[in-house]
Symmetry: C2
């Protein structure tokens, strides 16, 4: 435990309801509803060269998650933004990982969310996660587990909440099958999303990604890639994908805020190629996405001194 | 917040990894997987006249939840039992509410549960929840919400975990419809369970409750009532119940560890009667259950001085 904080959470700063502390002091009441029930929402973004990437979009999605869960946000968007920038600034990290968590606070022990009178608001800033560079060159191996994605009518995956056991268990199944991560299907057998990313398929030059109605989070990187496809007149369609349609792709890639675009070389026993040079459209999109970040985020949400 | 701790959590004692503290000092790291992902399991029981009720059964179920979630419990059952008794004893509460929470501890921020090397173990002891006596006399009003119970193939309700948003949202829908609580159905339209209780139907003198395969927690009180039915040669069957079958019952009751057996006077717009005298079989079971607790728990898990 001590090692965890001195190594893994070295240079980590946590803002708890406005107070900034080190990782080992970052504590929350056991009566917080986020701890008791996973009754919380969150966002993850990152900072690059002292700029927070697509923070506006992440804040909009935070509010969208809150509305799907009928969660009152007692803080103004301005306060939230200021606290985020304050935390990023305090970290002095040029490139950082940023996690924003908002819970329904402490109440008496009762499921009833209407008892909530305040939020607990936590911001974690730590050095940016370095994904292994070979993942971008050689691709990821993914696995489609037996466990299904939470159904949209039960626990809607489009609300980014503190209920992540479904994803934890999918990841567990993937690891037991020697894969890097998992893609989940829904009750119908259609592709939904990965444990922390959206999924894309390329077939005969056309680019596909499943609709939110399949049961997935409307990823911010996913939205940006949709814009890129439109702006560059690439053949693109949002469409349900059966498991077999995905497996039968020419190229597969995933996307998320912290990863950007990452190619996939394998799903279950299907191999899609050897390296990035085999995945022409994925490679092209990776370049376009990097350009887009550079252009769209220039001068926004600066947290340098 | 201050009021919450001085009023609601007055006389509340929390054991965190062996250290007992007051409610306002009971804190856990924001990096705990229970807080980040709801990656935790729990049990709730209570103490009556300095005896912990059915603690053995609750501990067995805790281990069962852990096995369903592939969670390693790094503590021995003996240590857990000793810590529970220590906490109950320290509270000096003759009648108490007891919550036991076990998480996969702190890890680096990653869904992969295999990174877990320890648990965080929390025990909350507080004065026993007093359910309004009129609920036992006049019954509860329940509502079947639009939100479905988590599917057994996605997030199995038979693992009692920290992922309770599904239940929170069902409760929310019930409250918005002026009901006391919610009963959820599954994808097929069959009855599963309430937000924190199992459900029973009585029709033409026969007693029914849905099977675990409908998507519900194997309640300990439910098991005890099954024993009572068998021991008393009551006509009883575990069988899937459609929504209409439940609505069409002569009597409906719910059961949970903290409530025991509680009658239901209304589901949606269906009224089952006026008071306990209208629900003969429920009333009989309530008596038999009280006897059973008294007999079965005598001398077990004593925490008096």
């Amino acid at each position: 435990m001590k090692e965890l904080y001195s190594h893994t959470f070295k240079d980590t700063f946590v803002n708890i309801n406005g107070e900034i502390c080190s990782a080992d002091n970052a504590k929350i009441s056991v009566f917080d509803r986020g701890f008791l029930y996973g009754d919380s929402i969150y966002e993850v973004t990152y900072g690059e060269d002292y700029h927070l990437i697509f923070l506006q979009e992440h804040l909009e999605r935070l509010y969208h998650s809150a509305s799907l869960l009928n969660m009152t946000i007692f803080l103004s968007k301005q306060t939230i933004t200021e606290e985020i920038l304050k935390t990023a600034k305090a970290s002095k990290l040029k490139d950082l990982y940023l996690r924003i968590i908002l819970t329904r606070g402490e109440t008496e022990i009762s499921l009833d969310p209407n008892k909530s009178t305040h939020n607990n608001f936590i911001i974690i800033a730590k050095p940016k996660t370095i994904h292994p560079p070979e993942y971008y060159r050689k691709g990821l191996s993914l696995f489609i587990p037996n466990i299904l994605r939470n159904d949209i009518q039960a626990t809607n995956p489009n609300a980014k909440s503190g209920n992540y056991l479904n994803n934890v268990m999918a990841m567990n199944e993937a690891k037991k099958n020697d894969a890097d991560d998992a893609i989940m299907i829904n009750q119908k057998g259609d592709i939904t999303e990965g444990t922390t990313f959206n999924v894309w398929s390329i077939k005969d030059g056309h680019i596909y990604t499943p609709p939110v109605s399949s049961g997935l989070l409307r990823g911010i990187t996913r939205e940006k890639i949709i814009e890129i496809c439109k702006d560059n007149q690439l053949s693109f369609e949002i469409k349900s994908l059966s498991q077999n349609e995905l497996l039968d792709s020419d190229e597969v890639f995933i996307c998320s805020s912290t990863r950007g675009i990452m190619p996939v070389y394998k799903i279950n026993h299907h191999i899609y190629g050897n390296d990035i040079n085999d995945w022409k459209i994925t490679k092209k999109l990776m370049g376009l996405y990097k350009d887009k970040i550079r252009i769209d985020t220039k001068g926004h949400f600066y947290y340098g001194q």
